[in-house]
């Protein structure tokens, strides 16, 4: 197989990969990386460059690493139109809990107050019992349906699919 990332025209000096890692002691691996990535001070860069000029091994090393670096950067890709921003999902996840919290607190306060008013009213006890049973039954059924839907939504593999 031919390596197509870098052609001979792009790297006329050519290089072979097997010798990577053979760096003369006067230039460390770390210095070599810093030199290639432009992280050395001007003085340090000049010293390393002088060592490179004096060593064909180092020249080969630098050529290989630079070619790999160039190839890598040239191959950056873009998801294009297939990526929708995650902001809508993030915003939903950040704001919905506040809404739910306010709703639950409000319902709890109204329910407690309504129950207190109902319990202390001078209505016939049988009427109270029947009304209370109907109200509790409706609340239990509603809570059960909400809980089922919530559990289903957690396992729904398509919940993030855009229509």
């Amino acid at each position: 197989m031919t390596w197509v990332l870098s052609t001979r025209e792009e790297h006329p000096q050519g290089y072979r990969s097997r010798e990577i890692g053979v760096v003369p002691e006067r230039v460390t691996h770390e210095e070599l990386m810093c030199f290639i990535d432009g992280e050395l001070s001007p003085e340090e860069a000049r010293r390393v460059e002088a060592e490179i000029v004096a060593s064909t091994e180092l020249q080969r090393e630098v050529a290989v690493f630079r070619a790999m670096k160039a190839d890598f950067q040239d191959l950056t890709f873009d998801p294009g139109d297939r990526h929708h921003s995650v902001w809508d999902s993030v915003n939903r996840r950040l704001t919905r809990p506040i809404g739910w919290l306010l709703l639950i607190v409000g319902v709890a306060i109204w329910t407690a107050y309504g129950g207190y008013v109902f319990a202390t009213s001078p209505t016939n006890p049988w009427e109270k019992l029947a009304t209370g049973a109907v109200a509790i039954g409706i609340l239990l059924l509603l809570a059960s349906v909400i809980w089922d839907r919530y559990r289903e939504s957690l396992n729904d593999p398509y919940h993030d699919v855009y229509r």
Partner: protein
């Protein structure tokens, strides 16, 4: 994004107004997605990781020190999220659908069909080599080569001394080279 504007947005978010989080998400989404794709290997898992990272970042904002730069802090959270997802086996570096999900850069459209085919082959080879070299090597290569971060920024994101970055980059590049050798890739 200008640092002063970024700090102002973070200050508003810390005060509890999530509306001001949108410009931050929009600004950091493209580089975040590149990092996540580089670590996860596919678009779906990358999106999930990115979304979770933005939510965790927002929830952690009250503890964020405004004197620190936001970018490295966010990328650290994103990197940890990717690692957690990979380790919890909810996701794995997966290249199966990568070709269908990603497009070559627009500049490639100006090149001839032969050159475009070569670039596509090269991309495939490089990403398959990345799959082989392991998570630690992959993440530092992605941070350096795809994101273009300086060593100081990479050190902040990975939580390692700046002097260690060069050493890890050397080993990562060597590992990548060996992976390409093993795949039968020959240099001219």
């Amino acid at each position: 994004m200008r640092p002063d504007l970024e700090r102002e947005l973070i200050r508003k978010c810390k005060a509890g107004d999530a509306r001001f989080y949108e410009p931050l998400v929009r600004a950091y989404e493209p580089p975040g997605l590149r990092l996540a794709i580089g670590m996860m290997g596919n678009l779906e898992d990358a999106r999930d990781a990115l979304q979770e990272a933005f939510i965790k970042t927002y929830q952690s904002l009250p503890r964020f020190d405004l004197k620190r730069p936001f970018g490295p802090w966010f990328f650290q959270i994103l990197r940890n999220q990717c690692r957690d997802m990979l380790r919890s086996r909810k996701a794995r570096f997966n290249l199966e659908t990568l070709d269908e999900q990603l497009e070559l850069r627009p500049a490639d459209a100006e090149q001839g069909p032969e050159r475009r085919r070569e670039r596509a082959t090269a991309r495939d080879l490089l990403w398959r080599a990345l799959e082989r070299i392991g998570e630690e090597h992959r993440e530092i290569l992605v941070l350096k080569e795809l994101e273009g971060f300086r060593y100081a920024e990479i050190a902040a994101i990975l939580g390692i001394p700046e002097g260690t970055v060069a050493s890890r980059l050397f080993h990562a590049r060597r590992a990548l080279k060996e992976a390409l050798d093993d795949m039968g890739v020959e240099y001219p």
